[in-house]
């Protein structure tokens, strides 16, 4: 199982490099913001650990993790969209 995940990891490294190498510098800020939103998937990690939390300490830390992750993912996508809706072609 471990080697399968490593296999996917290595391929994803190269895909990440390839996909981004064609981005014009004018889109760098939205791109950074967009990828920032994508790692907001950590919210799911927070949900999983909080769902299994057994002690008050674990519940408290998991709760904080969910808040952080949720702010990351929702804020990230919203702010990226707000930036991108301003890119308009000349009328």
């Amino acid at each position: 199982m471990d080697t399968n995940v490593l296999f996917i990891f290595i391929l994803a490294v190269f895909v990440g490099f390839e996909v981004i190498s064609k981005v014009p510098s004018m889109l760098h800020t939205p791109l950074m913001s967009g990828t920032n939103a994508i790692h907001g998937i950590i919210l799911f990690g927070g949900i999983l650990v909080l769902a299994d939390a057994a002690t008050p300490l674990q519940q408290a830390l998991g709760f904080v993790a969910v808040i952080f992750g949720s702010a990351n993912v929702f804020g990230g996508f919203m702010v990226t969209d707000r930036m991108l809706q301003m890119f308009k072609k000349k009328k």
Binding site: V5, L27, M32, G34, L48, A51, G69, S70, G75, M78
Partner: protein, 482 residues
């Protein structure tokens, strides 16, 4: 849901993430790219599985689920408030902040996964957590995620504060890089020792010490770096958070997290390198060079030949109104003065008079790559008027008037002429090559890097002093009258 279908759906989610990033690479499809990635996120949430393979939503409702819903809603409120209240000039700070929160979440998730299920001894009624036995690979992943996530958290907070103007000067002291190196070695040693001794008696103490040191290391790493280099730092920390999320994915066996985190990690690394390339500096120089401190001495050396010549708005208006080709070079000063709307009005008026107007965009103008594009887009400047540095430089000698608005280091010819300058070798927009260069500036203060600007002393340069927005409005009135 049938457990065989879920991996197939996760493949679909991965494709959505990749397509999302790909669509973000063109202005036409960028907005839908962001939505595609968000759709991928939603699908991944619906099929979210526990490590054992059960759908996380299929279980009985417990208090923990109430906490999940409340926490998510609080995060949603914070995120929405931040995203919609932030001014376009403060975008980089917002990205830094969201990134820091993601890093913090990654560190917490890894720590919680590590203490899950294991029971410790009770001391005064409180149960102390212990780390639980696992494979070396999983333990290593969790330690890595804790380490990188907490570093990214504290580093991003410092980057945020620096961009907000708090202690934006680099903080340095002799031997700083050695001290940071030493802390780094201690952290890595703890990490290595813990990987093989998770059930040892002092494991939880070592883990907490490692957590705290990693938080401190994030602060120590970013403090010596000047505010001008924060974009590079944020981009680097963004890729760090991605890698921490991928490591969390390994630890809790969630493929969607592995793919998403890795994509961000590798693309963020490349973006960091591209940004350093635009400044013509190796990434090591940005991170360990304490750029701003050497810039201070260079500014003090001074001694630039020539004199500074001021000009009045009326005169500039005449130059502009009867020019054939005008190029505007915007910089962070334009953002600070909130002058982007006035710039657009002026260029529209010039366009009506048949003047060809373009904007020359330096890749690192402002506080982040693409920062100027976002600001000008907000002011409804059509993006086909925005020309990148490499495309516009060859034709700069055919430009009648070059209007530099709040840009400084990115038009400093010292980068070409003065080998002793800290920015020597950085690609710049050749504003000094045009027939007449007008620099709009508040005062003669040095730029963000603290370096004297040779452009101000050139024979074909005139300085229009004052607040950029007020000056532009005066120009606008004078152009209309002429």
């Amino acid at each position: 849901m049938c457990s065989q279908i879920v991996p197939l759906i996760i493949i679909g989610v991965s494709v959505l993430f990749i397509l999302g990033i790909k669509f973000l690479s063109s202005p036409k499809t960028a907005r839908s790219g962001n939505l595609v990635a968000a759709a991928g996120m939603l699908v991944a949430l619906l099929v979210l599985q526990k490590t054992g393979g059960d759908n996380v939503w299929a279980h009985g409702w417990t208090f923990n689920y109430t906490l999940i819903v409340i926490g998510t809603l609080i995060g949603l409120a914070i995120g929405a408030f931040g995203a919609y209240s932030v001014k376009m000039t403060s975008m980089p700070q917002m990205v830094a902040l969201f990134n820091g929160l993601g890093g913090g979440a990654a560190a917490l998730v890894a720590s919680l996964e590590f203490i899950k299920g294991a029971h410790g001894t009770k001391v005064a009624g409180i149960e102390l957590p212990v780390l639980h036995e696992t494979t070396k690979f999983i333990a290593g992943s969790m330690l890595f995620a804790t380490l990188i996530g907490s570093l990214s958290f504290s580093g991003s907070i410092i980057a945020y504060l620096k961009l907000e103007g708090k202690f934006e000067k680099p903080m340095t002291f002799p031997g700083q890089n050695y001290l940071n190196g030493l802390i780094g070695i201690v952290i890595l040693s703890l990490c290595g020792w813990l990987t093989f001794n998770v059930t040892g008696g002092n494991a939880i103490t070592a883990f907490i010490v490692m957590f705290a040191l990693a938080l401190f290391f994030g602060v120590a790493m970013v403090m010596p770096i000047g505010g001008a280099d924060m974009p590079v730092v944020i981009s680097l920390l963004n890729s760090f958070t991605g890698l921490a999320v991928a490591a969390d994915g390994f630890a809790i066996n969630n493929l969607a997290m592995v793919v998403a985190g890795t994509l961000v990690g590798s693309s963020g690394t490349l973006l960091t390198l591209l940004m350093c390339k635009a400044m013509n500096r190796p990434v090591t120089n940005v991170l360990f060079g304490a750029f701003g401190s050497s810039g201070g001495s260079a500014a003090a050396a001074g001694g630039v030949a020539g004199t500074v010549k001021a000009i009045q708005a009326d005169e500039v208006a005449l130059l502009l109104a009867y020019a054939q080709r005008v190029v505007v070079v915007p910089g962070y000063g334009m953002a600070v003065a909130q002058a982007q709307h006035s710039v657009r009005e002026l260029t529209e008026e010039l366009g009506k008079r048949g003047v060809e107007v373009q904007f020359a965009i330096h890749p690192v103008a402002g506080r982040m790559p693409g920062h100027m594009n976002v600001l000008l887009a907000e002011a409804n400047v059509p993006y086909d008027q925005l020309i990148e540095m490499e495309q516009i430089n060859p034709s700069m000698d055919r430009v009648d008037v070059c209007l530099v608005i709040g840009a400084n280091d990115v038009v400093n010819p010292a980068a070409r002429e003065d080998k002793s300058s800290p920015i020597y070798g950085m690609p710049i927009i050749d504003a000094d090559h045009c027939k007449q260069c007008i620099v709009m500036k508040r005062s003669m203060a040095a730029g963000f890097a603290g370096i004297e600007n040779h452009l101000f002393y050139k024979d074909n340069t005139r300085m229009l002093f004052g607040d950029a927005k007020a000056s532009l409005n005066a120009l606008m009135a004078a152009v209309k009258a002429s």
